[in-house]
Symmetry: C2
Subunit: 222 residues, 2 copies
DNA sequence: GTCTATAATTAGATAGAC
DNA sequence: GTCTATCTAATTATAGAC
């Protein structure tokens, strides 16, 4: 990564700050363009020329602002995962069941708003690579553990569908994200627009009903 | 692979049949190799050289046996979809519920045995292309319609989870296939082997329980 | 920081000897 | 049918003028 080492004064006069702002902007434009190209064609299938063109920049600017295509890819994922964190942030004071419901709705909302994250993860997950190891070990695993612990608690309380924690992650993410990751297919096959708010809500409702079925004890208590 | 030098007689002596057999064999080896490369890297990311290497052939043989990379890709899908049909063939005399249960178990079994089909479909579904149009219109749509009709029947009978037919396809396929499509990720993240028969069975059992929950009427009748 | 030019490699496809 | 050589185009990355 190219750090903007100030050529200006000791540490940042007005001009240096203005230039830093411009640098941050072009970097973000490149990340936004790369996110789409990586999501559409996979890492190998995406070309830095197409990314630069989409960003309104020249191809060598990628190697200037990022050390390599791979570093650009990592920047893409860090940005998208930050947005995922915002969409699934846990609110304090909620019951385990409410927490899980919020997580499910957050995952669906994120998949609809930013299908690129799931597209990229799905592309990468199909074959072993150094990128996949980085992604799983440093990003996915830390985010997954709290959800699996929560699931075990719900299962013990009889409030969760009969799915083992080992299977939960892929069953839930698959059920929640494929419609959006493969939205172009859904448009052709079903003639629907997966990002339509009414569909997003129906989708989330269905998943909550399936993964968090009504608790028999609650029904008895009513 | 060296074939008998025979140019053989006018139309189909023993030697011609032997050559046809050899041709069919190399074609299938190329299809099997292509299936893995397309599944791992997507259409754009897969190279014909890597495919030929995996098949123990030379790169120009692909253009000799298939008109183009795209025709090879279509041959891959026709083979895999034929196997899917075999795995999900409907048995006569079963109730709608039993038929749906068999379909769910067949989809899971196919995903575990041939993860390449779902990997390729997932790669293609992320962006519009002529290949996607061909895939959806000529292959996916005809196979999907009977399943959706069956689902509506089950929903009307109160035997199906509360998912609209429009959402069913992607929710079910996502829940059933992501674990296998992204098996390399699951191995790293969870330390499990998704093709393990015990996991395949537990996975299918969980999906059947979630998508075909016990019918309240049946419970009342017991 | 940008942009032109280009190096070094690889892509899909073809020609022609065998 | 196979296989070597090769064509054209596209790839990531770099050099250097501005």
């Amino acid at each position: 990564m190219q750090v903007s080492t100030a050529t200006a004064g000791p540490s940042g006069g007005p001009r240096a700050r203005s230039r830093d702002r411009a640098t941050a902007e072009i970097r973000d434009r490149l990340v936004e363009a790369a996110l789409v190209e990586f999501a559409n064609h996979g890492f190998d299938g995406a070309s830095t020329r197409a990314i630069a063109r989409r960003a309104g920049a020249h191809q060598p600017q990628i190697n200037y602002h990022f050390a390599s295509k791979e570093e650009l890819w990592k920047a893409v994922l860090l940005k998208l995962l930050g947005e995922l964190d915002a969409a699934t942030a846990i609110a304090p004071g909620l019951s385990p069941r409410e927490t899980m419901e919020r997580a499910i709705r957050g995952v669906v909302a994120m998949g609809a708003a930013r299908p690129e994250l799931n597209r990229i993860m799905i592309h990468e997950g199909t074959h072993p690579s150094d990128r996949l190891v980085w992604l799983v070990e440093t990003q996915v695993a830390p985010r997954t553990r709290p959800m699996l612990a929560l699931w075990e608690k719900l299962r013990a309380a009889g409030e969760a569908a009969p799915i083992s924690p080992e299977l939960l992650y892929h069953v839930l993410i698959g059920a929640a994200s494929l419609l959006h990751a493969n939205a172009p297919e859904a448009r052709l096959l079903l003639g629907i627009e997966p990002s339509d708010p009414a569909i997003v809500e129906a989708h989330a409702d269905a998943l909550v009903a399936m993964f968090l079925p009504p608790n028999p004890k609650d029904r008895a208590a009513r």
